[in-house]
């Protein structure tokens, strides 16, 4: 992630530069990464959702509030902006479009980028062969999925959310914020042939899908896909942090979720 700050104006694009948000990135994921790196505040969406490529399965406002500490308000301290062409987003103190700064670009395989984009289009527009999790279910679990909110049962953190405990008592809704850092217990890299069918279009282009099983400091464990791991190999005992990325497309919508990023990368 590249970030440029100028007083109260903050700009961001992916590590690849303004022309490509990465294999599982877009303006929404860049925005969320930027917001998580800034002190919390309030934000006016300012028509930002007109610049997203695919409709998110959970409204952008809910994604922001579940995935960051920011709140969305009309009378906010920051305004959100998206570059008309490039994958650059900005948080500024003005409603007016800012002067966009220049960012560096990494060399990448532009053919692969085009093919990945085609696959995202196919995935979202086509009939999914993937595991079906409804939009309603995605919305139900948004605080836990995007915000790592855990329930508490007899003093212990519970994540992902559960309904009843062993005594038949209903657990309260998820409210405890877990730390966004965890330790790798084990990992695998699935070949394109072994990846779930919902990733079957993109997995061959990426050379497979990496997944880690991690344990949070609070105790719960979870599995996450790895992101930004092109140049790194995970190891047991290694640390990860989390970023919100595209998971997969279905029913004309894009599903977002947390992916693990190796702390060393």
């Amino acid at each position: 992630m590249q970030i440029h700050s100028d007083g109260n104006n903050h700009f961001a694009c992916s590590q690849y530069g303004p022309k490509w948000p990465g294999p599982d990135g877009d303006r929404i994921t860049i925005l969320l990464t930027l917001m998580k790196r800034l002190p919390l505040g309030t934000i006016n969406l300012n028509g930002f959702d007109e610049h997203v490529e695919f409709i998110p399965s959970v409204p952008l406002e809910e994604i922001i509030e579940a995935g960051t500490n920011w709140t969305v308000e009309k009378d906010a301290s920051y305004y959100l902006h998206a570059h008309q062409i490039d994958y650059i987003v900005a948080l500024t103190d003005s409603e007016e479009e800012p002067n966009w700064p220049a960012f560096e670009s990494l060399e990448y395989d532009s053919e692969m980028q085009r093919q990945l984009q085609d696959q995202w289009n196919l995935e979202v527009e086509g009939v999914s062969q993937g595991a079906y999790v409804s939009q309603a279910q995605h919305m139900l679990s948004t605080p836990s999925r995007l915000g790592l909110k855990a329930q508490i049962d007899e003093g212990q953190a519970v994540w992902p959310p559960r309904q009843l405990n062993a005594t038949g008592k209903r657990l309260d809704s998820a409210s405890k914020q877990m730390t966004e850092s965890a330790t790798i217990l084990t990992w695998t890299r699935l070949s394109a042939a072994g990846a779930p069918s919902e990733f079957s279009g993109r997995a061959p282009l990426l050379g497979g899908v990496s997944t880690v099983l991690v344990q949070f400091d609070e105790g719960p464990k979870g599995v996450f896909m790895l992101a930004d791991d092109e140049f790194e190999t995970p190891h047991i005992g290694g640390k990860v942090y989390f970023g919100i990325r595209r998971l997969y497309g279905q029913d004309g919508m894009m599903h977002y979720g947390l992916k693990a990023v190796l702390s060393d990368s």
């Binding site: 595991a131 695998t188 699935l190 042939a193 899908v209 896909m225």
Partner: protein, 397 residues
């Protein structure tokens, strides 16, 4: 309650068992099921008629696209069991292991005297992408699958952690693969009838690191069925029944990450403890076991969870050849297991029982016969260990 069923005075006899060859079938669902039932009936020494069946339990995930609902009624209709009380049992890959348990309980409880348990799956008439869709539906869809996991991935996570916790390497899994291919080579109903060298299995195509193609079972078509009767009528059907001495089942968290340990299957441990208790035996009494080796690491865990090897020494058990037919302490997967015999999901559990039936009656190919086999066990796992059914069989009550 289950203990009291286990202690019931009624003993359960297996008097017939049959299955299709596992593999790629030209037959559809109805044809495969009919073949399995036909073979089971033909295996009953003194004759058997479909119309005598009182209850039927058929395990299937209904993987294919031809009949998703009311599968069981369709199958019994086409196998001469029209009108029988029937239902589909679904517990992922353990579907027919649980169908067998339900059938056993139906007789134990005194509700029925003649019961059929079976399973079926048609997997190879689907496109690759549809097949991969179905192969992942029995994991935790929301929290595992959307994190990129299919079952090869889930078991790969387990294997890497096992290597980390214990003195074991991928070579131990290679030993499992080589053994099971060797056992299945001469099994006429096996899907993959070919021997595999250690070097070849060691260097297979990586499916989910560290698991290679030779660590993964094939996707197979197949059907299997067994005929169970109450002890007081067993003599009408055969003079040499195989007794279902014990049955146990258990479950665990669906998702791997919710379990306290991912290198042991609590569902197996619980199912085995109940099965041994109802049979009145221990793991040391088992001569041969058909265990659920959907991936080679699963067999390593099973040898520990079933009590054949101490915790952490399942890898060494495989390395030392302790599961080789007529060479080791207990023959593991004399049929070739899921790895070689094949894995038609819903048909696997009762397919294991068919193998034990034939082994205990000395009816398998001579070269495959486990010497002096008196007590056998089947171990059928659903998903990555969310469900498990274990059965103990004997030549004597």
């Amino acid at each position: 309650m289950l203990d009291s069923i286990g202690d019931s005075m009624v003993d359960v006899a297996m008097v017939g068992a049959g299955q299709t060859k596992f593999g790629n079938h030209s037959l559809g669902l109805k044809g495969m099921w009919a073949e399995a039932i036909e073979k089971a009936i033909q295996s009953v020494d003194h004759g058997f008629e479909s119309k005598d069946v009182e209850e039927a339990f058929i395990g299937s995930i209904a993987f294919g696209g031809s009949q998703l609902g009311n599968t069981a009624a369709l199958l019994t209709e086409h196998s001469g069991m029209e009108g029988v009380s029937v239902r589909r049992v679904e517990n992922a890959c353990a579907s027919s292991g649980f169908a067998l348990r339900d059938a056993w309980m139906a007789i134990k409880s005194g509700q029925a005297d003649v019961v059929v348990a079976g399973g079926i799956e048609k997997m190879n008439d689907l496109s690759t992408s549809r097949k991969r869709y179905w192969l992942g539906v029995s994991g935790d869809t929301e929290w595992e699958r959307l994190a990129g996991l299919t079952f090869p991935g889930t078991y790969a996570l387990t294997a890497r952690r096992y290597f980390h916790e214990f003195e074991s390497t991928h070579d131990d899994l290679v030993h499992v693969s080589v053994k099971n291919h060797m056992h299945g080579f001469e099994n006429e109903v096996a899907h993959l009838r070919k021997q595999v060298s250690f070097e070849k299995a060691q260097s297979g195509f990586m499916v989910a690191d560290p698991l290679t193609l030779y660590d993964c079972c094939p996707t197979s078509d197949g059907a299997s069925a067994v005929i169970l009767v109450a002890d007081h009528i067993a003599h009408k059907f055969t003079d040499t029944p195989v007794w279902v001495k014990g049955s146990g089942a258990g479950s665990d968290h669906l998702a791997l990450h919710d379990r306290p340990s991912i290198t042991q299957l609590r569902a197996t441990q619980s199912a085995a403890a109940k099965a041994y208790k109802t049979a009145g035996i221990t793991a040391h009494d088992i001569d041969l076991a058909e265990v659920h080796d959907c991936f080679t690491i699963a067999e390593v865990l099973a040898t520990e969870d079933l009590g054949f090897a101490p915790r952490g020494l399942g890898g060494r058990f495989a390395r030392d050849g302790e599961g080789r037919r007529n060479e080791g302490r207990v023959t593991i997967n004399a049929s070739g297991g899921l790895k070689s015999k094949g894995h038609p999901l819903g048909a696997t559990g009762t397919g294991q029982a068919v193998e034990i039936f034939k082994q205990l009656r000395h009816e398998v190919e001579t070269s495959r016969q486990v010497r002096d086999a008196e007590v056998g066990l089947t171990h059928n796992v659903g998903g990555s260990g969310a469900t498990c059914a274990v059965h103990v069989f004997g030549r004597q009550k």
